[in-house]
């Protein structure tokens, strides 16, 4: 348990550094798509919600099922909506075409 925890902390730290380095390079042009994309990625919390709703629990199973189901709905709507709108936004960004005379 102790070791696991420490590994998790390492993972968090490294991910935070990667996040800073990668996201610093995103041009301010795309900050809105960036936010909606990270939002969609953040909805990976659905994984936890699925386990919560689907697993067998010794006690408190009803509570877990109800809360888990609502959580899945919330996260899925973020995934679907987030990816859709990010793609829609990015489709609009076009470079200037051949120069008009």
């Amino acid at each position: 348990m102790k070791m696991d925890l420490l590994t998790s902390l390492y993972v968090f730290m490294l991910a935070a550094f990667i996040g800073f380095e990668v996201i610093r390079r995103v041009s301010p042009l795309l900050h809105t798509p960036l936010m909606s994309l990270t939002n969609a990625l953040d909805a990976i919390a659905v994984v936890g919600a699925i386990l919560l709703a689907g697993e067998r629990h010794a006690h408190g199973a009803t509570l877990a099922k109800i809360l888990g189901t609502i959580a899945i709905v919330a996260a899925t709507s973020n995934i679907v909506g987030g990816f859709l709108i990010t793609d829609r936004m990015l489709k609009m960004f076009k470079a200037s075409g051949p120069k008009k005379s």
């Binding site: 990667i18 994309l37 006690h59 408190g60 189901t69 973020n78 990816f83």
Partner: protein
Amino acid sequence: MEQIIEITYLIATALFILSLKWLSSPKTARRGVFAGELGMLLAIVGTLLHQGIVEYKWIFIALVLGTIIGVPLGEVAMTAVPQRTALSHAFGALCVTLVGTAEFYLRTPDVPRFMMGVLSLEVILGSLTFTGSLMAAGKLQELLPQRPITYKGQNFVNLGLLAVAIIVAGMLVVHPERTQLFPLIVGIPLLFGVMMIVPIGGADMPTVISLLNSYAGLSAAAMGFVLDSKLLIIAGALDGASGLILSVNMSKAMNRSFSNVLFGAFGQEQPAVAGRQEARPVRSATPEEAAAILAAANKVVIVPGYGMAVAQAQHKVRELYDALTKRGVDVKFGIHPVAGRMPGHMNVLLAEADIPYDKLLDMDEINGDFPQTDVALVIGANDVTNPAARTDPNSPIYGMPILDVDKARTVMVIKRSMGGRICGDRQPALLPREDAHALWRRKILRRLDRARTRRRQRIAWPRRESIKNSQDFRSAIRRVNHCVPASIRSATPRWDRRAWRGGLGRSRQAVPPREAQTEWPRKSADHVG
């Protein structure tokens, strides 16, 4: 089986990081979205294969329901993206809070201390983000008053609430069996989330949204610790880092210290400095004159701001851009980080209007260009171009980085009226320079619209060098009368309506006073040459 699931998670994690990496350039950005989708799909399918899952019915119902809700949320108008983003932060936080709550009741009473600490963090951050984001979305959607609501001792009350929540969380860490305390660390942050957003005005929304983004990410990372899921920890850390970077950007762009932002105390209103707005000579230009100046320019920088976004005039601006580009004028857009209602929002609005992204330049990129710029056209972006931020220590915006439009040879300002406040914020709207031309929105655009019908008349446009004195200049005006075929006219009524509804306290004339419209140009056009 377990290994296969772990491997799908590993691939998903790599895809998420690649997804953000590809987002760094508009060329590869769509690939980034695809990578994100693929990673998400893998992770979900992997999770569904989990052996521990005994019942699938509710999971699938929830997945379908979520998709049904998600699709319309992905189809909103570009102007509504800030609200949508705030709402999705709320959804994300809701998910995290619910899972955290359920985990607590499933695991109590034997929750290890560290686990309880992380769980408290998850639930506190999640629930304050939930209500905070709902409030922010309500304000952005104008369901709630946008004006900051402040009262005495507000910060004391807010920080007190947060402190109580943290103390209760501490007690739970020590005594995890006292389950009756748990509702407190959900309920108090829920209240705190509301109280945190109440004092924040419309113009601060970019900072708030980024901050809530960061909170949502951190709470998801905390959930990763609770569930011991590396995938969640990494996704949460990425989201948290992104929100943090954006909120630091935003707070820098508004000259607020970062600690100020972190503690949510950024709604404090600076007292409006009375008597600052001494009368300055402002020249009002007619659309013909504006057209003349624009046509004679080699290089034009358009500075769109919050005002243009509210008026939804971006398509009209595109027409202007097209007309000028066709005449060989080099047109660029200078975009302040806080233009629009969330980070980067202005870029999206202009991209939607088909303006190529390589013409959209960041504040740092464009500021060096202004000395070589003939005309800087400011559209509803007074505060971010106000030189008082550089020169006047009494100004509420003193120290804020601005777009140096005053270094351009000519500055034109399109704004609703003289003076006044923007979006409930008490920021004196000063004109950038004494010889700035205030172009009254309605008038200029009526004229410009008419001009479109005569576009076919080809006239030799005088270049800047040829306009040496006012005599020449006037004849030049007569000739280039009709060169700017665009109209923002249709945007005007909405703009006005919004301004009234936005909770501006005192009445203000939407039409300029007549005496402000002095004749122009009386002197020679020295700032043009």
